[in-house]
Amino acid sequence: MSLLSVQGLGISFGGLSAVRDVSFAVNAGEIVSVIGPNGAGKTTLFNMISGVYLPKAGQVRLDGETVTGLRPDLLARRGLSRTFQNLQIFQQMSVLDNVVVGFHLHERGPVLSDLLGLPGARRRSRASTQGARELLERVGLARAAEREAGALSYGALKRLEIARALAVRPRVLLLDEPAAGCNAVETEEIDRLIAEVADSGVAILLVEHDMKLVMRLSHTIVVLDHGEKIAEGDPATVSRDPQVIEAYLGASAEVIDAHG
């Protein structure tokens, strides 16, 4: 059974339909990318799956369990985690603490033991700090650990969000434009990181404008246009689909180039 499956998902804002009847599934260890022109509804789709928006129609299933419209924190408990297109960093906190927060579900205990600084709370705190340092190492931010997060570059913040999302130890990971604003070296690092995470058995749903990255990584590509799914398939099939080429118009050449 698919880890994440979406059936007939739809939402409208002020009577305007933003996403309509979208269905697809992601298996463990698989990378599925959602592509489409700007305004196609990719981020809106993400927001529905991750519980930020309440869908008007359709269902989201996590490992068979219906989780449609569940609060994001309850989804996190069930193993769904995400990053944001417009960064949602805890600006006033250190880089390290941003990731330590990601371990919240594994670290939390009775508030009283947190207040009293009991050994249990301190041990949990040490464990998540240790875990956070390892994750920072993994995304190449270990040296920035003690800096204030607000001071990092855009590309570094993107990786910081990935580290934070991984701290949740997700079974399903939603990445919204992880490579946006990153230089070639950083993009390559992210590319490698995503592949690694998928190899460890996590189901990954990806929105990304860097077509090279999408074509190289994805097992399946879902194409959205005007809120509707117009194509789905492996990278080779999708890049030859006439409807997809039309939707992208000028960008069509890029799609094919990237694959060729």
């Binding site: 804002f13 981020t43 930020v52 928006y53 297109q85 417009n86």
Partner: protein, 296 residues
């Protein structure tokens, strides 16, 4: 005959409720104008009412005729409103809500402090505009000053409505409150709109102060309570909505008068806060709450 007595009581309560309510409505309107222009809730709003009363009292006791005294009070208070915007609100543009709350409360305490130094701690009253012989209606006594208050409030609301709908400047203010950036793009001087809003809001507050001071004596301390009540009224009617300010103000005035009359005069001042809590519990986004979706 016996059931006529309670009726005249009720009528009396309604009269005083409408009078006080008209003042609350004007304070709420002041909140609304500034909130719409700048998204700031000005906790110093009540001080404008206090200044209107105190300055006109001082001017009258200096021998000036009442209309001139009122005019001076309104102009000076409007200038103070503009100064508040220029010196304290504009420099903190974009600051978190907590900071803005502290700034306007700080302004309120400052204005109160200065007033106390300039005019002293005493309570003052203006002479009624047209005598104090009450008019009798079905057994209820109506002070002529109450009619002045209500007429003044009506005049302000009608005048503002005309200003916002019929004049170019008024429409510019409305446009700015809808979308500041878009207003700037079509060439509206939003800085001027802010200045104008603070001047209008302070001037209206001062006028309310002039109108009510013959009924309720004023002192340097009265502003806080008025601000809180006016805010309650604005929130009751829906923040940012002038018609809501009017409805909320009148409703609050009536509820207070009825509470004082039938339940307990001690808890008259609690009504506003009780109402706020009930409204907020029932409608957590306010009565006219906006789009709940957050852009992420």
């Amino acid at each position: 005959m016996s059931d006529l007595v309670p009726f005249s009581d009720l009528l009396q309560f309604l009269v005083s409720g409408v009078t006080v309510g008209a003042v609350y409505a004007l304070v709420a309107l002041g909140f609304t104008i500034i909130y719409n222009a700048s998204d700031v809730v000005n906790f110093a709003q009540g001080e404008f009412v206090m200044l209107g009363g105190m300055i006109s009292v001082a001017a009258v006791s200096a021998g000036l005729p009442l209309p001139l005294a009122a005019l001076i009070a309104i102009v000076i208070t409007a200038a103070i409103g503009v100064a508040l915007n220029t010196l304290a609100i504009e420099p903190a543009r974009g600051a978190p809500v907590v900071s803005l709350i502290i700034i306007t409360i700080g302004a309120s305490i400052f204005i109160r402090g200065v007033t106390q130094i300039v005019f002293g701690k005493g309570t003052h009253r203006l002479p009624p505009f047209s005598g104090d012989a009450p008019l009798h209606l079905f057994g209820a006594a109506i002070l002529p000053q109450s009619l002045w208050v209500v007429a003044g409030a009506v005049a302000i609301f009608v005048g503002l409505w005309l200003f916002f709908t019929r004049t170019l400047t008024g429409r510019a203010v409305l446009a700015t409150s809808n979308n500041r950036l878009a207003a700037q793009l079509v060439g509206i001087n939003t800085g001027f709109v802010m200045t104008l809003s603070f001047a209008l809001s302070a001037g209206i507050g001062a006028l309310a102060g002039v109108l009510i001071t013959p009924i309720t004596p004023t002192s340097f301390e009265v502003g806080i309570t008025l601000a809180l009540k006016g805010f309650a009224a604005a929130m009751l009617g829906g923040m940012g909505n002038p018609k809501g300010a009017l409805a909320g103000g009148l409703l609050l005035g009536l509820l207070e008068a009825l509470t004082a009359g039938y339940l307990s005069s001690h808890y008259k001042d609690a009504v506003a806060f009780f109402v706020i809590l009930v409204v907020l519990f029932a409608f957590p986004r306010g009565l006219y709450g906006s789009n709940p979706t957050e852009r992420v």
